[in-house]
Amino acid sequence: MEKLFGKLTNLEKVMPFFHDGMSLMFGGFGGVGSPPSLIDAIIEKNVKELVLIGNDTGFPHIGIGKIVSLGRAKKVIASHIGSNPVAGKLMNEGKMEVEFSPQGILAERIRAGGVGLGAILADIGMDNEMVSAGKPRFILNNKEYLIETALTAEVSIVFAKKADPYGNLIYDKSARNTNPLVAMAGDITIAEVEEIVPLGSLNPDEIMTPGVFVDYVIPSKGVNWKWAWE
């Protein structure tokens, strides 16, 4: 069944897509729903100068935080870095640029990129310097909005519970979070999955990310970090 669409592959085969200076979007929220094996492989390959786009910078040893803590990102676009003190330190030392976006606006900017829109108009944080700096404003029906640009990336990495050979994905509980949005926004999207099931075995009503958006599926070695609550 692997050859049906050419999407089922392994870590080694997708590693050439990761390179210094690239933009990389990742699914996950506080590390929950972030792809552990891809993150480790990116670290092992010593990919540097990354532009990372995602909800947050995880914890120092959890999720994308592992990459951030090693100083491998030159820029992060996120809504929150508070749970990863290393990120704050790198930012304050001028070693990593951080662009903050309100959490739901960030999610919508990623989704907008994923569905081929140019931007969204939103009224969140209009008067906040950190949110509004440099963003054009537009008045619509006597109400002012910020123009929040869409986000895409060269590669998106997501973490799913199940995939079939077409790359149809099902996420688990709150590990869904930003993953379906991130999956749409990558020029190339790679899904790390806990289980690969035969074509036709997923209920088509329950598929959360249609395989159309997924280019490669690789099996996960599973979460190998210790959660903050453990």
Binding site: G116, P204, F213
Partner: protein, 221 residues
Amino acid sequence: MGMGIDIRNRMAKRASEEIQNGMVVNLGIGIPSLVPNHLPSHLNVMFHAENGIVGMGQSPELGEEDENLCNAGGFPVTIRDGASYCDSAVAFGMIRRGRIDVTILGALQVSQYGDLANWIVPGKKVPGMGGAMELAQKAKKVIVVMNHFDKNGSSKIVSRCTLPLTSAKCVDMIITELGVFEVTTTGLVLTEVFLPNTIQEVTKLTGCEVKVTESIRKIEY
């Protein structure tokens, strides 16, 4: 210039040759809907519908229709293994994000520059554009399959469209009962003719300047 089922299927068969393994394909109504009949069975193709289906299969048997499983035209379909449903916003997200490999659709006119007019029938009411603009603008490859002539016998391939455009400069390939044309940066190129038509006939019957490719294919089927 009515067309028999044979000519229609000839055009559909030629269009089917543009579909490769693993592609995501959106088909318009009319002749494009005949394309799946001509696909080799070993090909894994995902047919996309604007209302929110990826992986449409054959038409259901009579009496086996499911009123909640219809294509964008409102007609019952089935699904294949690996199919999924989504909302219409996501279905069009696939289109605008450039994830549709090929769209095959009918047209009223196509210009030598690939301008497409396929949504306002002259003298009839304005139906609305539906999803045609997004497909024409954003599919990776836009193939028009249409009669070469309108009901007055005029070429539907024109130097400049007189009907309202669906989208400008979007068509990559035109397939008519006479031949196959590619829209290139240097103009329209006739690349194939359906036998027994000759190159001379086809270029003469086409309403704009047409270049002819060096090694033209002559299609016998």
